[in-house]
Symmetry: D2
Subunit: 319 residues, 4 copies
């Protein structure tokens, strides 16, 4: 496998990290510690924080402008951030911004870019030749189609079945990429192979590449929209290959804005939405009644999820 970063890139990162300057802006020590470092994801992929603005302090300051003299009574920063998060007062969280540099397979970016509230600068395969980098899953990630979840994975395949999958993915990627270069009449740096004949236009040659080829992009997003993305993508229902990026970014949020991270965990990530029917059923359970959830108006799946969130219900509201 190609190493995640070339020596040249490693030197650039080291140089950026060594480059300190003075600023009058608010600084987050946790974010400064992260700056520029590449966190490996999916083998040759990575995510790294390359710029940021604001943090817990900026959020508090923005909220205090909104509430004016009225906030004097709100005790402390942690309490205010938790209050804002719990009540989905989103605008102060929009005042913090992060910029990431990411390398990921195209099929992952297709899910990623459906979030429309970020700014994206992606490597263009019309301008430049793509690297010979493909995502090939680790054997333990190669799993069968789930029966219960139409868009999920079930048990791992056997070693033999997994090996066949790996062989297919590797061979097809290699052949498609070789043909890509042949059509381009170029090597990976774009230099012509046979100067006596023309190469196919880059914008056409790339249509032969499979969606597990790696691309890279800058991704800039405000903290509120980032948390919304992480809520959906650092979730067990998200596809594994995007979830690992979300997990890596969530760990960065924890360092950058620790109070916000804690409030996110309590009020978004670990929170459970009780529907009207679920709430009414729960009230009956709490009054001592035995309740059949499905006849109380919950769908089969909602009932199952409620019993998963509150396992103690099983005794009182059996499925």
């Amino acid at each position: 496998m190609t190493p995640m970063l070339s020596d040249e890139q490693k030197q650039e990162i080291a140089a950026s990290r060594a480059d300190w300057a003075e600023t009058r802006r608010a600084v987050s020590p946790g974010a400064e510690a992260l700056m520029h470092e590449a966190k490996p994801v999916l083998g040759s992929g990575f995510v790294r924080l390359i710029d940021y603005m604001g943090g817990d302090a900026a959020i508090v300051q923005g909220a205090r402008v909104s509430y004016g003299k009225g906030t004097r009574s709100v005790s402390d920063d942690r309490g205010l951030i938790r209050y804002l998060m719990r009540n989905r007062h989103t605008s102060p969280f929009e005042l913090a911004v992060a910029k990431f540099h990411v390398r990921a397979p195209i099929f992952v970016t297709r899910q990623w870019f459906r979030h429309r509230t970020a700014s994206i600068n992606e490597y263009s395969a019309r301008y430049s030749v793509l690297d010979r980098e493909f995502y090939i899953p680790a054997p333990e990630s190669i799993a069968e189609q789930s029966v219960s979840n139409k868009q999920g994975r079930g048990a791992a395949l056997t070693a033999e079945q997994a090996q066949r999958v790996l062989d297919i993915l590797r061979d097809d990627a290699a052949r498609c990429y070789d043909h890509y270069l042949e059509m381009l009449n170029a090597d990976e740096d774009g230099a012509p192979l046979d100067p006596s004949r023309p190469g196919l236009a880059r914008e056409l040659a790339r249509i032969n590449l499979p969606v597990n080829v790696m691309t890279q992009f800058y991704w800039q997003i405000n903290l509120w929209n980032l948390l919304h993305f992480l809520k959906l993508r650092a979730d067990p229902h998200a596809q594994y290959e995007i979830r690992v990026y979300a997990d890596a970014m969530l760990a960065m949020v924890e360092q950058w804005a620790p109070l916000t991270f804690e409030a996110f965990k309590d009020y978004m990530q670990d929170a459970v939405l009780l529907s009207g029917p679920a709430l009414r059923a729960l009230r009956r359970v709490l009054s001592g009644e035995a309740v059949d959830l499905e006849s109380a108006g919950l769908s089969k799946r909602e009932s199952a999820e409620l019993r998963e969130a509150l396992p103690e219900l099983a005794a009182r509201a059996p499925g």
Copy 2:
């Protein structure tokens, strides 16, 4: 080549077109004539208008609300629409909305979905098996990399070179798709091939497919954002494979909202932006001076484009 539409789809479209109902809403006769029909694009791709709201009349009505009694003086609908377009008063154009159903290759959707102001519902390859449909360019579209334009095409390849490209694209697509089905252990309808073994999860198997595989989606956008998209994508600098979709939609706009289409053509599509330096150079030319554009502050490319827009300049401002 697979036919663009199955018999079942043709019947559905015919049934939809036969289904008329009464409405109190504003109706555009041109849009009604288009409704549901599939316009073929790129072989097995298509675009069809499946719903719309408003049109020229809604735009005029929205503008008159903004200007209130003050618009009484503005003569007629055509004049008002041209005034709005010329002065980029965009909000009345946002009041008209179109919904399209599109089939296009993945590499085209990657450019398409960078426009963040639309609502998208795309076929999910996590839920369902993709069809064996790939975009293979027509021989005359197979062109060499442009030297002058880093992201464009130059002359067509020779017949022999084009044939080699076609062979590669067809063979790699067929092999990748066969392997896709083998890994899924399913046929194109999702039925198992060998019931005794599990299939790979759909979300993983699809990573073997090249970006010229066809997908489909609903795309809903307001008229202003649609015109902005068409300005960029029905432009000679856009990649041919997305431009043909833009051209098809632009022809639909002409039928749906003819006054807006005409204003778009005059004030957006055919319009040319003169920079400050270009304007100052032009004024000198108009006073009878001979002007060297590049020493007047225009870049090489800007000078060339200005001479292309105003060929009569050549005599007075030679390159």
Copy 3:
């Protein structure tokens, strides 16, 4: 009080309602019944549906495109819409669009327009003269500042105190408006009062008007963003004067898209978010433990709200 609609406006509405046309688009019978009618709000204010696109059927159709052949198993439209709403699969709901015509006081529009995902065409006081229309609260709405809720109302004022408020609001509005016309040197239709002297520019004269002056606007929004707006603004914590508009629009959604309305009620409006700490406390209660909510990590306000949502908790988790 000025009547809500002039005779001319009433005739225009009657004419619009009498104007039926044939369409190939999906039609919602409930929305057709509503079209153009003005629902009075806050005295001389109103809200009326003046165009729409889609409805329950369009949402189902959009979802089935996304899930492809995979949705064949999902039983019925109602079940699918409830599934989408419960899991916040928002994009199919974006495919339905409504356009409203609204008259409301400026201070209400200031809250309204903070929702950034709609298209707005508002009456411009730079172009035209504003009407002599002000929102004056009904006596029973005139309430003291709440002590517990820094942004809410408490008990009604006494009749005498309320009368003083009404006198102030009426007198100041009348005086400011008289001065507005005097500065404009115009009557309410914009005709000059004294042709021998110039009038102050409209864009300046209007700065003398209080924020309870009435304005009007077209507001177009997709159904998902509308539901998000209604969740926040048809809520007891919203200011009364915007809540009555939200209530009126919510009743229209019920007629337009009844399945979506029902799912909204169960999964958004009546739903309660249980935080991680609340969930853990509830699990302990369900196992039979007595729990002190505040020492379990819930803030004072969160504890109170949890006991309000689940009154049966009081016996087991006393405050």
Copy 4:
């Protein structure tokens, strides 16, 4: 007039400016020099830069990621930024972000907040009491309604007429504010005037205030959207009272990102859009023909604007 800043605020600003920290982020020396300082606008209003991210260097870096190895040929940063601006490659400009703190009259914020792409945290008059601060125009800004421009100003009023306007604006603002405090039963700091009676809810009392009352807010926006705002609002057609804010922010952009500012000036602010008909007319003029612009398809206003942009046309294309 109340001084623009209280002594307490001045001390806070001085303290912020004295507070330097080390960062690994890119720093703009020009922006650092501006940080926190309040630039007075409209008397007691102001605008100040309170945070920023990126600048010319971040824009160049983002563009080089998009174009990959392909950009090696593009000579220098200035050339690249001008190329991006001229071709409206907007995404690299989205990578720079500014946060401002603004005090402005409500009628100005109503125009300001129609730009939907920013994050706003505004002082809430539901939570807190508004200050006794009103915008009263300088006598030389008090002008008559323009006849040619339905939304503009013409000549200044006479001193006597202007004095009458000032008297009205001052008296009505003072009376409305006095009544506001009386209804609140509070002084400007929110302390009760008569502890024996309740005050009207803040959310209701404020409806008596005219739209020239001052509010304040944080406003955060990426550089591309900021330039779009400045193109529209630092324009002679914008209302004077918002234009002065735009002018102040544009001067800040010049210090923060000088290469971008220069490109903005040449390719956006000073640029003129030639419509298709105007272009065709100009080509005929350049070939030596005398052209009547209006019979060549230009509207009266478009002809006048073209002659204003190219005064040398007058001899060849008389009106």
